[in-house]
Every structure is written in structure tokens, then in C-alpha cells.
């Protein structure tokens, strides 16, 4: 064996990707040639040295703590044995005591010494101890530092939207986190905002609300009602004329700018303050169940409280349900048409007849193959009540399928709810391994959507999903066309990324997985790329859909 062939095997061994028979060969060669053996030892030595220096979990003190933990476990076993075997033998008790004290002492000392090694820089430390100490402090060699997780600036979230027309382009979507200073301006419809302390404010019709904090908002104009549960007591709603401090209740407010503000208490108690004097008890006006006041140019006037003037949770729920049914129905119609579309290669609707069955039918028109096999995962609710979805959580969860053939154009599309981007790469759909022409479709931990076709492209969009988007249903699609060389990616119906590739090849699938990644049989295991979240629709087209078709798919399937 020449040196080059030996090096290839040696590099594989250090990387953990060597096969059993290759390893045998490598060992045989090294045993016969002293030079090769010393090359092997040298590589192992440097590899281990770098691991010791760079891997987070391998600092000297961490290691020493592990030793201490084992000794304690030993002592526990010892103590247990003696308690069971001989409760009365005083001598044993004494020995036991000494033994336990010894280990306890060791632990204290180890801890103390570790601290000393970490913090002190005493002259008595040997260079090795210094090395151990420096392992704890971040090594100078840190190129790929993960970004600091974003701070949560949100103070409230959009809970529901019903037929809302926004007055400005900003708008808002269900699940959006709202930060202090954020204004919601609507011309019509119903918006429900939930503050992080628990208060829920519902805007009805033309209105403008400004979020001021986790338990505070300004109603600049329009009609709103608030429900304030116990943890949110003290919720403050400011208006131009009056400041409403809630003491645990339900109340309604209507602001007509420049004219009047009306406050009606439906249940419980609120305190009203003059915004100019602030919240002093002496000047506070208290209103209780069934009382209402109108503040305008003159003195406050009592008004009759009419709950029916404002909406209610029951009404909202009923409307929401109707809307959800409509949405579900709209999707059903689109879905029925998709099942007749000859361009669809794979269509998983995630609507199994039997949730215990492992097989997920491919509902494409000519679906003779590519049934999905559900491994792990939990069936759960999808975009609407009644729509089913599969929840991927554990590294074992996946759907396997097999699709033969080569394709000049493909489009991948799915509705997913991402619950976390826990791994450097999170699988949407990945072929086993990654060979010539094989397709990989995934998110990375920065929330970028990536489409890779081996030896042709490996493209990530801008970041589409951040922490505040977790738990929302989103639509993702990516298309590839070998003839034009175009790659496009879509997020919620909008094209977010385009690329022209130089050497397009035909796309292939073969054995593949949704929500995970496997290696062809007999290859060593891979870095985990399991998906954390739900999926309730997956389509693979044998054509590159254009932008309008992807948009139509999004419009028909959007949950709200």
C-alpha cells in the first residue's frame, strides 16, 4: 500500500467514518511498517490534543468533577450495602463514617482546588495545571461563535384577527410579538391582543391601540373591551381623557378623540385616574359592576352599561370557528384539485384514516409508489381544528419514502410549524446520504431555507424564521429547473430568493426522509438533523411551479 492510500484510510479513521474492513487493512499495514505506525500515532495524538483544547465538554475541571462524581457514587453504594448488611456493627459504622467523610472531604478539596485552578494564578501551579486552567477559559481559536440569542423585546402578542383591514401597511399577523411603542391601526374587523401579564384587549371596528408594556396600553381612538385575569391585576389602559386601572375584571372603553371617553364596567372593579394628576388614591374614582361614566368637556356623566354594545368571547369564538371552517373548506377544495393535478409526484395530506397505521398514502394522481412510512412522531392538530398534522420531536421521528427516477424540474412545498431550530441543519426533506443529483431541503439554525442538489447548488435564503416565529404555521416552497437553471425559494407565498446555477443536473430522490436524515445502509451514523415541529401538508411536483401558483397554494391554505 502506498502512503497516499494509507493516508486516506488514516484520515477516515480519525473522522470516525472508516469501515470495519478498511480499519483492519489500516492496522495490518501499520503493524508492518514502523514509519506508518508512527504516522498513525502522531495523528491520533494531535487529534486528541486538539479535542482536549477545543471541545467545550472536555475541560480539565469538568473531567475532575466527573472523577469526583464517580467516587461519590461508589461511596453511596458502599453506604447502602452496609446499612443493609449490618445496621448494628459499630465498627462497620465507624469505617463507613470514615470512608464517607473521606470522599466528602475529597469532593470539597477537589472543588476548592478546581476553583483555585480556575481563578488563581499562583506560582506553585505546574504548567499542566495552567493548561488545565486555560482549557476552561474560552480558547483564542473561536471562529464560528454562535450569535447571542435575540433578547425578547415582546410585551404582547396578537391572539386573534377576524376580518381585519389595517389602516397602514404595517399590519400584524396572529402570533406576532408586539414590542413597546407598537401601534395597531385598523379600519375594520376585530383584533385581539394578549399582554404577557395576561390581560386581553379586543379592538372592534375602526380603532388605534398602542402597546406600552407587559401590562399597559394606550387606546388612542375607537372601541375596545378588556378582560383582565387575576395575574394581570393593575392593568392600565390610558386614553386621552382618563386612565383606567383595572382591579381584576371585564370592562369596555370607547374613545372619540377630541370629544369623549366612555368607560363601562361589566364585572369587577376599576379605578379611574386623571392622567394629569397621576395615580393618586385621593382623586381616584372607583367604578364597579354595572357602572359607567362618560368623560368629556364638562363633568363626568353616568351612562347606562350595555354589554351588548361590545363583543364577547363567545361571539368571537363562534365567528372564529366559522372562519376556521371556511378556511378548512377552502383548502379542501384546493386539495381536491391538487389530487387531480398530473404534475404532482407525491402528495401527503396528513389526513390518515387510521392514526395507528404506519403508512401514509401518497394521494397524487398517479401514485403507484412513494407511500410514506411514519416512524415515530405524534399525530396532533394541524392548521385548523379537525386538520391533522404529524409532530416531529425526537431524533428518531421521521417519514420514509422512496421515489425512483430523474427529474428535470421539481418543486417542494410544505406547510410546517417550526417549534425550534435546535440543530445546525434541520431537515424538511433529505435524501439518504448526499450523492450526485440528490436533493436536500432544510432549514439551518439561522432560520434560512436551503435547497441543495449535489454538485449543482447549495443555496440558502435570507433568514426567514427567528425565535418569535416559532409555533406559527408557515408555508415554504423551493423550485428547481434544470433547463433554465433557475432556483427559487418561497416563504408564505412570496418569492424570497432566486439563483441561476451554472451546471444544472437532473434531480434524484431514491430513498429519502421527511423531517430527518439517514445514511445508506452500512455507513456510519450522521450528525442529527431532525426537524422540531409539525407538518400537515407536503407536495413534491415534477415541475417548477411559477410564483403565481405558489402564491395560490399559500392563499388557499393559510390558516388565518
Amino acid at each position: 500500500m502506498n502512503r497516499k492510500a494509507f493516508d486516506i484510510l488514516l484520515a477516515k479513521m480519525l473522522d470516525g467514518s472508516i469501515q470495519e474492513d478498511e480499519l483492519e487493512l489500516l492496522v495490518r499495514e501499520a503493524a508492518q511498517d514502523e514509519q506508518l505506525q508512527s504516522a498513525l500515532l502522531e495523528q491520533i495524538r494531535i487529534d486528541e490534543g486538539v479535542r482536549l483544547l477545543l471541545h467545550d465538554s472536555r475541560g480539565g475541571p469538568t473531567f475532575a468533577e466527573g472523577v469526583a462524581a464517580r467516587l461519590t457514587a461508589d461511596a453511596d453504594r458502599f453506604e447502602f450495602l452496609h446499612r443493609v448488611l449490618d445496621r448494628t456493627d459499630e465498627r462497620t459504622q465507624r469505617t463507613l463514617f470514615r470512608r464517607v467523610a473521606l470522599v466528602a472531604g475529597l469532593l470539597t478539596c477537589t472543588a476548592a482546588l478546581l476553583l483555585a485552578a480556575i481563578w488563581a494564578n499562583g506560582p506553585r501551579q505546574s504548567p499542566t495545571q495552567l493548561a488545565a486552567q486555560r482549557i476552561v477559559t474560552p480558547p483564542p481559536l473561536q471562529v464560528e461563535r454562535r450569535a447571542v440569542p435575540p433578547l425578547d423585546a415582546g410585551v404582547a402578542t396578537v391572539k386573534q384577527l377576524l376580518q381585519v383591514e389595517w389602516s397602514d401597511a404595517a399590519g400584524a399577523r396572529v402570533g406576532d410579538a408586539l414590542t413597546t411603542g407598537r401601534r395597531l391601526r385598523q379600519r375594520a374587523g376585530t383584533t385581539q391582543v394578549q399582554f404577557y401579564r395576561g390581560a386581553v384587549v379586543t379592538l372592534e371596528g375602526p380603532a388605534e391601540l398602542e402597546v406600552r408594556g407587559i401590562n399597559e396600553a394606550i387606546l388612542h381612538s375607537g372601541k375596545a373591551w378588556a378582560n383582565v385575569p387575576e395575574p394581570a391585576q393593575g392593568f392600565v389602559l390610558l386614553t386621552p381623557d382618563i386612565e383606567v386601572v383595572d382591579l381584576g375584571t371585564e370592562f369596555g372603553v370607547e374613545v372619540v378623540p377630541g370629544q369623549r371617553t366612555e368607560v363601562s364596567v361589566f364585572s369587577g372593579e376599576v379605578e379611574l385616574h386623571d392622567p394629569r394628576t397621576g395615580r393618586v388614591e385621593q382623586s381616584a374614582i372607583s367604578l364597579t359592576t354595572g357602572q359607567g361614566l362618560s368623560f368629556g368637556s364638562g363633568l363626568p356623566q353616568a351612562i347606562a352599561v350595555d354589554r351588548a354594545q361590545f363583543g364577547s368571547d363567545e361571539q368571537l369564538r363562534a365567528r372564529q370557528q366559522r372562519k376556521s371552517l371556511e378556511g378548512f373548506e377552502r383548502w379542501r377544495q384546493w386539495s381536491a384539485a391538487a389530487r387531480q393535478d398530473p404534475r404532482v409526484l407525491i402528495y401527503y395530506r396528513f389526513e390518515p384514516e387510521d392514526e395507528n397505521a404506519t403508512q401514509l398514502a401518497n394521494e397524487a394522481l398517479d401514485a403507484e409508489e412513494a407511500a410514506g412510512y411514519v416512524i415515530g412522531g405524534q399525530w396532533t392538530e394541524g392548521r385548523w381544528r379537525g386538520k391533522r398534522a404529524l409532530d416531529f420531536k425526537r431524533p428518531s421521528d421521521r417519514i420514509r419514502f422512496h421515489l425512483d427516477g430523474e427529474y428535470d424540474a421539481v418543486t417542494l412545498a410544505a406547510w410546517v410549524r417550526i417549534d425550534g431550530l435546535d440543530r445546525p441543519l434541520c431537515s424538511l426533506m433529505l435524501t439518504d446520504g448526499y450523492e450526485f443529483g440528490e436533493v436536500h431541503w432544510q432549514f439551518n439554525d439561522k432560520g434560512q431555507l436551503g435547497l441543495a442538489i449535489e454538485s449543482t447548488c447549495n443555496r440558502y435564503s435570507e433568514s426567514l424564521v427567528d425565535l418569535t416565529d416559532l409555533g406559527k404555521w408557515i408555508h415554504v416552497a423551493s423550485s428547481y429547473d434544470r433547463v433554465t437553471g433557475e432556483v427559487h425559494q418561497y416563504f408564505n407565498g412570496e418569492r424570497v430568493d432566486s439563483l441561476q446555477v451554472d451546471h444544472p443536473v437532473a434531480a434524484r430522490f431514491g430513498a429519502a426522509e421527511i423531517g430527518n436524515w439517514s445514511q445508506p445502509v452500512s455507513q456510519p451514523p450522521l450528525q442529527i438533523r431532525n426537524f422540531n415541529g409539525r407538518m400537515d401538508e407536503f407536495l413534491l411536483y415534477g415541475t417548477a411551479l411559477d410564483e403565481s401558483e405558489v402564491r395560490a397554494m399559500y392563499e388557499a391554505g393559510k390558516p388565518h
Partner: protein, 173 residues
């Protein structure tokens, strides 16, 4: 009290070299720390058999050899060592090979050499060793082949070895 203090000192002073030694007996990378901790647990139990602290390194290596020999006998627990023949041949390598890795300054020299690597090499090393990324994965990220990534890492390790020898030579003079 004296004994525990001494023992804790021994653990801190010898852990790095002992772990390197264990790995160089052909123990699988993921099992190195586990086995090295076993060595210290046994060392604590047999403290009386250590004559002087100066001999601790050799004494610990002896325990490590015994534990690895035990591993060879365990049919079912083979996964702690990579390959029987490899470990058997590495066990025969004479104990203190004179290439300096058992010296106190070796890890420091390695650290200095890591810092001297050109940026691209450093990034690759960081991805491989800090993030534990497999070569296939890195290849996908870098747009190259797994074999190319592996060979580059091999070359970088060779450069590091040469660099360490230079460093240790300098300090000796």
C-alpha cells in the same frame, strides 16, 4: 485531609496527559474520558501502591494499560476500543516515547500552534472540533468532497506536529 488534597492535585495535574495516553492505546474517541475516569477511580482505591508522587504518571499509565487490557477481554463491550489488533499493537509501543508529548509544555505548544494557523485552516479545525461536525457535513457546507475535507485535516494535524516540535525545541534551548 492530606491524602485527598494530594489526590485532587494528581487528577488535575495528570488528566490531560493520561487522556491522551488512553486515546493512544486505540480507545475510541467517545470512550476516552470514561476510561480515564475509571483509571482515577482505581487509582484512588489503590492509593497505597503509589510510592512517590513523582512516579504518578507512570503509575497511572500502568493502571490505564490494565483497564484497556480488560476491555480487550470483554467480548460484548468492544465498542470502547476501535479495533482489537490496533490496540494490541499500540500496547506494545514502548512507554515513554521521546517525542515530548508527555512534557508539561506540550499542550501549551499545541495551543500556540493552533493560534498560528492560517484563518481558513482555523475555521475548518473549529468546525470539526468545536462543533463536532462530520467531514461529509463540512463538505456539504463548503461545497467540496468529504475526502478533501479529511485530507485537509490530516495535513493540518501534520503541520501542527511540526510546529509543536519547533516550539518545544525553542523553549529547551
Amino acid at each position: 485531609m492530606h491524602r485527598q488534597q494530594e489526590f485532587a492535585q494528581i487528577v488535575l495535574a495528570h488528566q490531560a496527559q493520561l487522556r491522551m495516553f488512553v486515546r493512544m492505546l486505540g480507545v475510541a474517541p467517545h470512550a476516552v474520558d470514561d476510561l480515564a475516569q475509571d483509571v482515577f477511580v482505581v487509582a484512588y482505591q489503590r492509593w497505597d501502591t503509589l510510592d512517590t508522587a513523582e512516579n504518578a504518571a507512570k503509575w497511572l499509565r500502568g493502571i490505564a494499560r490494565n483497564l484497556v487490557r480488560n476491555e480487550l477481554r470483554k467480548q460484548s463491550r468492544r465498542q470502547k476500543i476501535l479495533n482489537t489488533a490496533l490496540t494490541e499493537s499500540l500496547m506494545q509501543v514502548e512507554d515513554p516515547r521521546s517525542d515530548g508529548w508527555q512534557e508539561d509544555g506540550w499542550l501549551d505548544a499545541l495551543r500556540a500552534c493552533l493560534a498560528k494557523l492560517p484563518p481558513q485552516s482555523r475555521e475548518l479545525v473549529a468546525a470539526r472540533y468545536e462543533r463536532d461536525a462530520a467531514s461529509g457535513e463540512l463538505a456539504e457546507e463548503l461545497g467540496t468532497t468529504a475526502d478533501a475535507v479529511r485530507q485537509t485535516l490530516l495535513r493540518i494535524r501534520r503541520q501542527l506536529k511540526t510546529c509543536i516540535e519547533g516550539q518545544l525545541g525553542e523553549t529547551r534551548e
